[in-house]
């Protein structure tokens, strides 16, 4: 496994996009692409070729789980690790997301100063 560098973040909320971009680029030093919906991610993910994908669960239109399913349908993205970001982090929910194929779940609201470390831990785990 190579180094974690390119992260695709799918999130509909522009303010959270901005915070996360700073936390990941500035604090974490990653290359970040942000898509505002599942549909946009499906169009652009393959071209970006991410090392890891972060998916918000609750989104208008396609939500996180359906986006994950659709992304898995693209050959180049089938093996890319995915983590959900959600407020719903009760154990059965976490188990459910993992069963869908997510590597882990990051609780919202996240700590921007620690987000990069959390992601690295997932990548390494």
């Amino acid at each position: 496994m190579g180094t974690l560098q390119r992260i695709l973040y799918v999130e509909d909320e522009p303010d959270i996009q901005a915070v996360a971009r700073l936390a990941l680029e500035l604090v974490g030093g990653f290359t970040v692409k942000i898509c505002s919906s599942g549909e946009e991610a499906l169009r652009e993910a393959a071209a970006f070729a991410p090392d890891l994908i972060l998916l918000d669960v609750m989104m208008p239109g396609m939500d996180g789980p359906s986006t994950l399913k659709a992304l898995r349908g693209q050959a180049t993205l089938a093996e890319v690790p995915v983590a959900f970001m959600t407020a719903k982090v009760q154990p059965p929910e976490v188990a459910h997301y993992k069963a869908l194929g997510a590597r882990d779940v990051i609780a919202k609201p996240f700590d921007p100063m620690k987000l990069a470390d959390q992601i690295r831990a997932i990548w390494n785990g």
Partner: protein, 973 residues
């Protein structure tokens, strides 16, 4: 002997010998019967006279009572007079009395003023009758009852009429009660006129001397009086008694001349040509008048005393004597030819005599048939001759009886010897008939009662020479009479001691002849006054009584009939009455029993009232009320319950209450009840909780149910109060959903805010100037608190909505405790608070959700840190407590104020509102902690000394082995 064809002297002798005893016996019996009848006649005559005298005496008492009213009250108003007379209940108690009145005395100079006053008092047509000038007037001003015939007497001056005046004068002159001679009453306005008389009692003005005639006339104020219609009075006195004696009353002594005052034969005419066997004439002197009462027996009286027996004996005697005579006569004719042959004749005579004695035996047989023994006693020789029946009566063999007086006397009962001797002596002197009953003693010791009757025969000089008499055994009759007397006595004792009211009334039902004291109580009378009253007057419904009398008259017996009585002075009473026709003192009578159920009736009414009151409350209450029995069968179902469940009461009552429950409760309900009945362990009873109900349309709904168990008529009964809480639940759910939605919606902006602030505060965007950094840190800290608050709100909502997941696993407790200690070290250090494990670690396993337990421990530890003083210590300890393990978190901080302790586990409860800001925290921590502990099967508690610190602890059951599979619990039911 007179000729060949004439009967011989012997035949005549035989005839005489046969007829004489027969006639004698007949005569004896007949005289005896006549004397008995005479005795009865005299007795009844005395009763009639006694009743008349008694009644006149009672009436005098009434008038004296009225006079007393004037003496006591001075003026007596018309109303008072009316009340007095009404109380007497004349019609019932004194039938025959026409009225009770007051005639006032008026002197000529007062006349005009008197008339004017009366007219002014409401009688515009009033005047004193008859008109005309007189020296003294009287006027009937009060006469009760003031109606009917009596109105004719109003204003009448009785002093104007000679017969009345004579009695009035006598009353004052002799200071006594006086009655008049025969008069025609003014009340004879219609109908057949009856003879009448009046009774007067003078009334004087109080306080004046009354010693002399002149003084009395000066003080005279008037007369209390009563008019009587003679026939009505006699009917009243004698009542319905069907006397078999007629009586005629004449005033004064002029029986032959004047019309009688009363003649009972008018009401009951005699058959034509009837001549009474018994008559007598008596005089009654009463109140200055004397009445002559002529009494005569009626045919029905005489019929009672005619007896067949004496005629039977006469007929038998004559018959036997005649046949004997015929036989003897023919014999003597046949042997007349041999008159010369004296020897032969003598022999013949002897033979005849022998035959005669045989025939005499036949006569004796006839007397035997009547059970009568005949004896003859020669007073000179002392010889006593008995016939065969006498021997049988005395149970003495002919050999035993010596034929002398002493032999008979030896059989007499010792107690009767002297009386018999005295009677014999009196009979010999001619002072008394020998007619008696005495006792004899048989050989075997048995005592018999003998009726004896005898005649004393005298010689030409009038000296007693012989006694001839008869004896017969009356033991059985005596015994029967004694038994009757005793049984009546027993009946009276029994009635008297009975706790139930009882009385005996004469057949026909209008006169009480015996009553016990309970009956007197029942009709609110003194016991001695009950005798003679007419019970009919107490029946609230006269028809009721008439029906009872009719049915008893027909020989029916009546049991437990509900009778409503109307008792003067006591009001309505209810009794269960039974009536039996009986014989009492030889007369047909009715025994009545009265069981007073007035109190029961009233209680019953009170219960009915109470029940309808209760029913009204039940029907109008908004909560459903359902009662069931021990088997779950619905006994009642009120209106509110009907509207909650959609069933009409009649669809549910009598069926099992399970129909109102959804599954699985429906199937399990019998089990709950059985278990409760068997063990007393209640699931709902006495607790009250939220359960699910099922409506008629199948809809399931939440309801609040409180059940209490009571005992009704010694059987368990359950009362369920049901409240439909669908609406409340819906509102609660909406509130919770609202909180949940709002919290979720808050999180998105909060994620952005707290993220942005975190980046700045974390220095990712470079260093800020001092004050700006401080402000950003404040903003960052508060955004984090907001996050915590929202998380707690969501947790709380999940717990209350039952959506929180618990992953319960049996695991060692100690590692979790240490982990919590470790996790909170940093926070403690920040506050300069030390965290330490006190005591020894404990090897115990508990079944918990590790993450939730961490939450519990963290809440308690962070609370302890929060409320500790700087440089303080927070200690954790773990200890075994029976089959539970106790985890205690202690601090030495400010402690919990007394007033706050009861609310400490409530949501948003903090001792001081300012704490929220000062100490941080959401106000939900302990509420969530308690919920979590309880969901994991534990209990939480605390103790605290204000100013010294607090100790929070929770206890969890220890799990002994880990073989059990992990159990997830979603709380989803």
């Amino acid at each position: 002997m007179t000729g060949p064809h004439a009967p011989g002297r012997i035949a005549w002798l035989v005839l005489a010998a046969g007829l004489l005893p027969a006639l004698f016996v007949w005569h004896t019996l007949r005289e005896q019967a006549t004397e008995h009848a005479r005795g009865q006649f005299d007795l009844q005559a005395r009763e009639i006279l006694g009743a008349i005298e008694q009644r006149l005496y009672q009436h005098e008492q009434i008038l004296l009572g009225g006079a007393g009213l004037f003496d006591a009250g001075g003026e007596v108003s018309r109303a008072a007079w009316h009340a007095y007379v009404a109380r007497l209940r004349l019609k019932v108690n004194h039938p025959g009395i026409q009225g009770v009145g007051f005639s006032t005395l008026i002197r000529p100079h007062e006349l005009e003023a008197h008339i004017a006053a009366m007219r002014a008092a409401g009688f515009p047509d009033y005047t004193v009758k008859p008109a005309g000038r007189r020296e003294l007037y009287t006027s009937i001003v009060y006469l009760e009852p003031f109606a009917g015939r009596n109105l004719a007497a109003f204003g009448y001056d009785m002093f104007s009429e000679a017969t009345r005046r004579k009695a009035m004068n006598r009353a004052v002159d002799r200071a006594t009660t006086a009655i008049t001679g025969k008069v025609k009453l003014l009340q004879e306005t219609h109908g057949r006129p009856q003879a009448g008389f009046l009774m007067y009692v003078p009334v004087y003005r109080p306080g004046l001397p009354l010693a002399t005639v002149a003084e009395r006339w000066r003080a005279l104020r008037g007369f209390v009086y009563s008019p009587y219609r003679m026939d009505d009075l006699m009917r009243g006195i004698l009542g319905e008694r069907n006397s078999s004696i007629d009586f005629v009353i004449h005033a004064g002594s002029g029986i032959e001349t004047a019309q009688p005052m009363h003649d009972s034969r008018e009401a009951r005419p005699l058959p034509a040509g009837f001549q009474p066997r018994f008559t007598s004439s008596k005089r009654i002197s009463a109140y200055g008048e004397s009445w002559v009462v002529g009494l005569a027996s009626r045919p029905e009286f005489e019929a009672q005393f005619s007896s067949q027996r004496e005629w039977l004996i006469l007929a038998l005697g004559i018959g036997i004597s005649l046949s004997l005579f015929g036989l003897t006569a023919s014999l003597s004719t046949r042997h007349a030819r041999a008159r010369a042959l004296a020897d032969e004749m003598t022999a013949q005579i002897r033979e005849n005599e022998a035959r005669l004695s045989g025939l005499n035996e036949r006569f004796e047989l006839a007397a035997d048939a009547a059970g009568i023994g005949v004896w003859e006693f020669d007073l000179e020789t002392g010889r006593l001759h008995w016939d065969a029946q006498m021997h049988r009566i005395y149970q003495m063999e002919p050999g035993e009886f010596t034929g002398y007086y002493e032999s008979w006397r030896a059989r007499l009962h010792a107690d009767d010897i002297d009386a018999i001797a005295a009677l014999q002596a009196a009979s010999k002197r001619g002072d008394a008939p020998f007619d008696t009953i005495f006792r004899i003693v048989w050989k075997n010791g048995e005592i018999r009662h003998i009726r004896a009757y005898a005649k004393v025969l005298r010689d030409a000089a009038g000296h007693p020479s012989r006694m001839i008499g008869v004896n017969y055994d009356v033991t059985e009759q005596q015994l029967a009479e004694t038994q009757l007397r005793e049984s009546e006595q027993r009946l009276r004792y029994m009635l008297e001691s009975s706790p139930t009211a009882a009385r005996i009334a004469r057949a026909g039902g209008h006169e009480v002849i015996f009553a016990n004291h309970r009956y007197a109580e029942l009709i609110n009378q003194e016991a001695p006054e009950v005798q003679g009253i007419d019970p009919a007057s107490y029946y609230a419904d006269a028809e009721d009584y008439a029906d009872i009398v009719r049915r008893i008259g027909a020989g029916e017996r009546i049991f437990d009939r509900l009778i409503e009585l109307d008792i003067p002075g006591a009001g309505r009473k209810w009794t269960l009455a039974s009536y039996l026709p009986i014989e009492y003192e030889g007369q047909p009578a009715v025994l009545g029993w009265f069981y007073d159920i007035t109190e029961l009736k009233r209680a019953e009414q009170a219960i009915v009232d109470q029940a309808s009151h209760t029913q009204a409350i039940l029907e109008n209450t908004v909560d459903g009320i359902i009662t069931i029995d021990a088997r779950g069968i619905v006994a009642s179902f009120n209106k509110a319950a009907a509207s909650i469940f959609g069933y009409a009461p009649e669809e549910v009552v009598g069926r099992n209450v399970k129909m109102l429950m959804p599954e699985p409760y429906q199937s399990e309900h019998d089990g709950y009840l059985d278990r409760y009945m068997a063990t007393g362990v209640a699931r709902i009873i006495g607790i009250g909780r939220e359960v699910a109900g099922r409506r008629k349309d199948g809809e399931t709904f939440p309801m609040e149910l409180a059940v209490s168990a009571i005992r009704h008529e010694d059987r368990p009964l359950f009362i369920g109060m049901v409240r439909d809480i669908t609406e409340r639940k819906r509102v609660e759910r909406m509130q919770n959903e609202f909180v949940s939605t709002v919290s979720h919606e808050l999180r998105t902006p909060l994620t952005a805010i707290s993220g942005a602030l975190g980046l700045i505060a974390g220095g990712a965007l470079g260093q800020l100037p001092g004050q700006a950094r401080q402000m950003i840190e404040i903003a960052h800290k508060n955004s984090q608190r907001l996050t915590l608050l929202i998380n707690d709100l969501l947790d709380m909502e999940k717990i209350t909505a039952g959506k929180m997941h618990f992953d319960l696993r049996a695991q060692p407790l100690m590692p979790l405790v240490l982990q919590a200690l470790e996790a909170n070290q940093a926070y403690g250090a920040e506050r300069r608070i030390g965290l330490a494990l006190a005591g020894e670690p404990l090897d115990a396993r508990v079944r918990v959700d590790a993450q939730r337990l961490m939450q519990v421990l963290s809440n308690l530890i962070s609370n302890a840190i929060k409320f500790s003083r700087e440089d303080g210590v927070v200690e954790l300890s773990v200890a075994r407590l029976g089959d539970t393990v106790r985890v205690t978190v202690s601090d030495h901080g400010t402690g919990i104020p007394e007033a706050f302790r009861s609310r400490i586990f409530q949501k948003f409860a903090q001792a001081d509102a300012s704490d929220t800001r000062q100490k941080g925290g959401t106000g939900l921590g302990l509420a969530i902690t308690r919920e979590l502990v309880q969901r994991m099967g534990g209990r939480i508690g605390f103790d605290s000394v204000e100013g010294e610190g607090s100790r929070f602890h929770f206890d969890l059951p220890i799990v002994e082995d880990d073989a059990e599979p992990p159990a997830a619990c979603d709380d989803a039911h």
